[in-house]
């Protein structure tokens, strides 16, 4: 288990957004979290990455509790995330966006920057190399000097993935990565998620609304509704689970119209 969630409970005042949810994510797997709108998926993600502080339960990342850690500490430990609504550094170039991911893997400070010491220069070179490699992997290297906000939507998504990869994570959390992508881009995303796992040995955990994508890519699926876990299992198990059909898949049909 790379990530182990135990009885996690998050309340906003009287509202329980996440209710005693427990599950574990296997190292080297691709797993998904699904559930109807407002089921508490993103809230759960925010707990895992330290943006929300859950009141009860525990989150173990590589056997270490990350419940009380700040988001940047969690990233340093090796858990990277993307956001549901794009959160790029809009006025910076693609290159700068992705270089930011290397911040937590480097250390030079004021003196190094002002003196441009050999150590600092070597570090800058390494930052650029890693960023370039990440852009190449995702396929946006040709856009590296463009300002992020001037990119088409699909490319902005790619920048976010590359930026998360630049933090050199062991576990990558993708919050609705397919939102707003067209069919071709979704197919590329499936391919990409697999490559991230196979070539970079990164465990991938995603929240997704697009059932086609989830069913294609996931090795295991967790389903939550009203903050409570209602099912987990392989694609087939989840698809045939009556509680899931009732809570989610049936409703999805209506949504589609």
């Amino acid at each position: 288990m790379i990530l182990d969630i135990k009885d996690l409970t998050l309340r906003f005042g009287g509202l329980t957004a996440v209710n005693k949810v427990s599950f574990g994510i296997e190292e080297g797997s691709i797993e998904s979290l699904i559930g109807p709108n407002g089921a508490g998926k993103t809230s759960l993600f925010n707990c895992l990455t330290g943006f929300y502080k859950a009141q009860e339960g525990d989150i173990l990342f590589q056997d270490q509790s990350v419940m009380r850690l700040k988001p940047h500490k969690i990233t340093i430990l090796g858990m990277a995330r993307t956001f549901q609504n794009l959160r790029l550094f809009k006025n910076l170039t693609v290159m700068e966006n992705i270089m930011s991911g290397m911040h937590c893997r480097t250390s030079s400070g004021l003196a190094g920057a002002v003196m441009r010491s050999p150590g600092q220069r070597a570090e800058e070179k390494r930052i650029r190399e890693v960023a370039t490699e990440c852009m190449e992997f995702i396929g946006i290297l040709d856009k590296k000097d463009m300002v992020a906000k001037n990119l088409p939507y699909g490319d902005q998504r790619r920048v976010e993935w590359a930026r998360a990869l630049a933090t050199q994570p062991k576990l990558l959390l993708l919050d609705e990565p397919a939102a707003g992508l067209n069919y071709d881009e979704k197919m590329q995303l499936v391919e990409l998620i697999r490559r991230i796992r196979d070539e970079r040995k990164i465990t991938v955990f995603l929240i997704e609304h697009d059932m086609g994508l989830v069913m294609k890519v996931s090795e295991k699926i967790f389903v939550i509704d009203y903050g409570t876990k209602i099912a987990e299992g392989t694609v087939q198990e989840v698809q045939n689970n009556p509680r899931v059909i009732e809570a989610y898949l049936g409703k999805e049909e209506e949504d589609a119209i």
Binding site: T49, F51, K70, P71, H72, T75, I76, A80, R81, F83, N85, L86, R87, L88, F89, K90, N91, L92, T93, M95, E96, M99, S100, G101, H103, C104, R105, T106, S108, G109, L110, G112, A113, V114, R116, Q120, E123, E124, I127, D145, M146, V147, K149, N150, P152, Y153, Q156, R163, T167, A179, G180
Partner: protein
Amino acid sequence: MKENQVDIQTAAAQTATKQKNPLVQLIDRLYELFDNKKIRFIVLAAAVAVLLYLPMRTSMYFMEVMTNVWFYVVMCLGLNIIVGFAGLLSLGYAAFFAVGAYTTGILILHYGVNFWLTLPVSVLMAVIAGLAIGTPTLKLRSDYLAIVTLGFGEMTRLAARNLEITGRATGLVGISRPSIFGMTLYKINHFYYAFLLLAILAIFVSYRLQDSRIGRAWKCIREDEDAAEAMGINVVAIRLFAFVIGSVFGALAGSFMAVKMTAISPDSFLFTQSVMILLAVVLGGMGKIPGVILGAFAMVIFPEIFRGIGQYRMLIFGLLLLVLMIYRPQGLWPERSGGYSAKGKI
């Protein structure tokens, strides 16, 4: 979703209009020229040579104005680190200037310390002041932060006005002149050179920081604090760092100002002073180093040129600012149309 679509549309519209404008093409061409290291070196060397030669040829009045320009360049670049790079709106920057000026003034006047030895103390006090304003405001964003920094600025001034050691309302009078290699600095030209060197140092440090890991982290928290935090950037530490570095710039300028004027009083650190510095930064273009320098120039030179029309000059200055902010909210300094160069500099 909707927001993003709008963004894409406006971006597309911007690129479309930019391609047709000959002025934009000219600016891009100049940027390209300046990317050439040799040309850049020649231009900068020529500029420095002219600035060094200036005191031999011009009047004392002009030197007084130019010294003031360099002083404001240092202050504005300091504030630019806080407001422009890190995106933390601060309305109390004069407090940092006061910290430096009073530290040097008190040490020289009351303890007879050599001016040059007061500088490290001034830096230390600036670090403390930066942490003092930075720490309680860590969780605050934009508008709230602006109000707290405004309060901090006024508190500093009122403390200086009421404390025995700062000379109450009279301030400190008769601060002795510094000397270097046995030569006492007292002429305006001496201080012109001192402030010019300080300004060059401030420009150099600003550029180096801008292109560094710390500088990029500042830009990231300016753009989006949550995303920066998610990228593993310690937002708290990086914010504090911006306050501290900005504060040191201001304090050093203050220390030199104390010995140039030989007298300082609480009235030198009014709220309007903080606002003027902020104004220069916004006028030139927040976060753009050449823009900020231009802003400092404009703010000092403009009222001097229009001295003839007396009190109306500030009215005209205000009107001009208003027009500028409506038509050019990003500041005077032009950007290249692609946004950034290959290295991400402006």
